[in-house]
Symmetry: C2
Subunit: 373 residues, 2 copies
Amino acid sequence: MAFRVEARDPCGARAGLLETPRGPLPTPVFMPVATQASVKALDADDLRRLSARAILANSYHLYLRPGVETIKEAGGLHRFMDYDGFILTDSGGFQVLSLSDLREVDDEGVTFRSHLDGSEHRLTPESVIGVQAALGSDGWTTLDECPPYPCAEPAARQALERTMRWLDRSVPVVEAARAAGARSLFFPLLQGGLHPGLRRRSAEHHNACPADGIAIGGFMVGEDKATTWRELAATTALLREDRPRYLMGVGTPRDLWDAAACGADMMDCVYPTRVARSGSVMTRGGRFTVTNGRYRRDFKPLDPECSCFVCARYSRAYLGHLLRCEELAVYRLLSYHNLHFMADVAAVVRAAIVAGRFPAARAEFLARYGDGP
Amino acid sequence: MAFRVEARDPCGARAGLLETPRGPLPTPVFMPVATQASVKALDADDLRRLSARAILANSYHLYLRPGVETIKEAGGLHRFMDYDGFILTDSGGFQVLSLSDLREVDDEGVTFRSHLDGSEHRLTPESVIGVQAALGSDGWTTLDECPPYPCAEPAARQALERTMRWLDRSVPVVEAARAAGARSLFFPLLQGGLHPGLRRRSAEHHNACPADGIAIGGFMVGEDKATTWRELAATTALLREDRPRYLMGVGTPRDLWDAAACGADMMDCVYPTRVARSGSVMTRGGRFTVTNGRYRRDFKPLDPECSCFVCARYSRAYLGHLLRCEELAVYRLLSYHNLHFMADVAAVVRAAIVAGRFPAARAEFLARYGDGP
């Protein structure tokens, strides 16, 4: 197996190591989001400086723009964006349902109109793997039908059945790509986690499939956080231990601890960069908004305990000034800091698991971080 | 003197070296614009990587936001923005007249309302030097009254008389600041260049003033380029040879050659970064718009002859994709490239003067660069 669990906390948290085509990836890991082949406001040089070894890109967006042929001709997504780390691609199922117009889901796939130009497209479980293979990403997910939240059991069951059938149909395409030389890891999507009745069926099906990891979808769709963690823990309890669990769309610094406690190994979220662009800064001592008047003459770094270049160089007063002026540079600087912070939190989480003191370390972190997300 | 002319072309172009409080500055030099203490989309680290040894900041903007006290408390503008090169500050006279509401100019100064919050302010020739001294910039300009264009001779004469009186009133404040330890260079503003009748009077007055350099204003205010260069050459012909001439608000790659030919030594303009943000890219072979359809699958760098990190790393196809997606990273990358190009052009101009082949080098450059600005 490409994944090795190196340490386990009794609560369920795991420290692992995933062997990827781009080198070893220690987990838990937080993956910055590069939906359109760019982590918002940063360039690949920044990612290298951040030591960001894994990012998430989005098949749906890249399929529509710039298009698969362009990226193929560029020599793949890595060369297109000049990034040499691990790129996991979201299948785009979620985006088809949330962004596109006039979508129609049938047993064979999804027909939809582009949110960019209204052009009609069709994605099938098979073609979605083909898109990811053409992009040359390192981790492939499967097309799924993500039911709305809340969703009654019968509708959720129907979506789950379809998602499982789509998973089965993806497998031969993955195997063919591998026979043709692809080394990418297969992370088929798991649904149904919020419905206790469907959870076991979904997990059993997934456990029996050939896969390198599990992309856990269907959380963070509107339910409250207590529900998320309770249901996630119940879900991971049913999953094989030897596969890395990628929890999609999570999260905040607090979420990293909670997701890890539920046995999640990989997470991604636009949260750190999105809030950065409105001036929200994460520090060991909690979150603050850098444009708050109290920082106008505060010449300390964003986080005095942070080792990132932004904190080495710029003050709260300067960064607040730039944001008030809407100077473009500030979006990059705050995004960089927040992603550095998230990587730092993931490293602290991992070290705590390895040291056998996860609950204590979590309590210490949260005591200082406070009530924020 | 702080300025030494190292080589001269018969056409009037000069290669010089200006000793500044931040080290020697070879001229001709193009200075990126950091109006609000930030070169748009770049950070100070980028400026260092660009070897940008001189930038322009704006007293008017910084006086209003974040305010002089904040920057003073930060330890000066250099520490505020973490830049250790030469910072010249525009007095803000031009901005008062062009941006603020309800301005009133009298013999003693200018009263205006902030374009940000409507608050009332007054700037005098003396206070403008005080602002720049408090900011801690390395080059100080004087408050001027920039007449509109076109402007009849009587009105231009009145503005000029006032500008000259304001210059005279600035001198004691500069001398007091120097007595108190300031090492900043004094670049009082010259006006009246577009009026042959006023030009001599203005130049003679300026030549007789104690100054380290000359900030030439009143060009690029709406006149056509042929007029600019004809009148500029006539103006510099009247100026002392031993002072560097900073031509404000210029320009484009073509302008660098033309301004240098007229004896200008320092230039600044938002042009390279402004056009970058709409996708306009400068190369040795001319300007192009990176979002043009023909570059969709063009995997060459922006300029195959460029040594900047953007060209080393990213393709036209990728950068065009980012701009189409309005990904924030692209504004920085294109701005960086264009500023790198401008620095490169300035270096080529200087080398041509030193080598005694300015006219030939200019013709070669323009033959390849083409008709664009």
